[in-house]
């Protein structure tokens, strides 16, 4: 094995070892999603963020959720159908606001962040 090969193998082993040590795992980055809704939800209506059901939207018209940094997709589930309301980027230590408003019989999602 040449010098370059040895270095590559060494680097690979070091990264595997670092990843397998509990204390050396990199903390995931988190951002925040502020959802404000002016929409009156029907009994079985549910919102989800990246597939996870959002609890408490019926009792409150705004929520702040902690979420792993990456992309976010806000979806409404109504009568067995799903509507993607908006998609946005969730960045480390930043907050993105998604405001839901009724506009001409449809739901408009305005994103600011």
């Amino acid at each position: 094995m040449g010098m370059t090969g040895k270095l590559a193998l060494g680097g690979l082993l070091a990264s595997v070892a670092a990843a397998s040590l509990p204390g050396c795992q990199e903390e995931p980055n988190y951002g925040y999603v502020h959802i404000k809704s002016e929409i009156k939800l029907a009994n079985n209506d549910v919102y989800s963020l990246n597939g996870s059901v959002i609890d408490g939207m019926k009792g409150s018209n705004e929520l702040v959720l902690k979420h792993k940094a990456g992309s976010g997709k806000l979806v409404l589930h109504r009568r067995g159908r799903t509507w993607t309301l908006c998609a946005f980027s969730i960045q480390k230590n930043r907050i993105v606001t998604a405001t839901l408003r009724p506009v001409n019989g449809t739901i408009k999602c305005v994103v600011q962040g």
């Binding site: 988190y30 502020h34 702040v64 902690k66 930043r94």
Partner: protein
């Protein structure tokens, strides 16, 4: 025909007698089962965990509120735009981490909701209870109502802190973004002006946050 129906009647009467003989025995066996069966495990009361977590959160918020205030004060005295930008990033991380403690999908908020649901279920349980006297039932219902109301008040304080931190994070984020734009324009004076305004805004907000730790009360122990 008559003889046949007579025998049918006697068979029926015999079977009925057997059922009558067996029925008390079954009841007795069931009673024994009920008496000897271990009682169903009670639902875990999440109240104690909530009090512990809420008290710990109050301390954390107080400490972080102080750090935010200090960091905001330091920004004000900075004269280099680059140092100010770095400090704003640190401050943004600090506020974001603090907000992470009070989000709607955070542990304390979720636990609080469980306590409220639990207190409601206990109140309902004693509405239909026949084991206790009316006075005892009324006392238990009153106590669970108190626990529910105190938890709701604590959650409401948490929601105010969340609102304040959300506002703070949005402010710092927007000021930081504005500073980036100014940096592109190489307008150092304007950058320092933005920093000073931000410091004043944050001082007020962090004072409100520290006030939370003074006023927020978890439900009284002994629930």
């Amino acid at each position: 025909m008559l003889r046949r129906s007579g025998s049918l009647v006697s068979v029926a009467l015999f079977s009925a007698a057997l059922v009558l003989i067996q029925f008390p025995a079954q009841t007795a066996a069931q009673e024994v089962d009920i008496k000897t069966a271990p009682s169903a495990p009670p639902l875990a009361n999440p109240g104690d965990d909530f009090v512990k977590q809420y008290s710990a959160l109050k301390k954390q918020l107080e400490a972080l509120g102080g750090k935010i205030k200090k960091s905001a004060g330091e920004i004000e005295n900075l004269t280099s735009p680059d140092a100010a930008r770095k400090q704003i990033n640190t401050l943004q991380g600090l506020i974001a981490n603090t907000l992470g403690l009070v989000t709607n999908n955070g542990d304390v908020a979720k636990l609080g909701k469980r306590v409220i649901d639990y207190a409601r279920s206990k109140q309902k349980q004693f509405e239909s209870d026949t084991k206790f006297s009316p006075e005892e039932r009324a006392f238990l219902q009153k106590e669970w109502k108190r626990v529910g109301a105190q938890t709701e008040a604590a959650i409401s304080e948490l929601s105010r802190a969340r609102g304040k931190l959300t506002e703070m994070l949005k402010t710092v984020q927007a000021r930081g973004d504005f500073m980036k734009e100014l940096q592109a324009l190489k307008n150092a004076n304007k950058m320092l002006e933005v920093v000073k305004t931000l410091a004043a805004e944050l001082r007020t907000a962090s004072a409100a946050l520290q006030n939370f730790s003074r006023t927020a009360k978890p439900p009284k122990a002994g629930m």
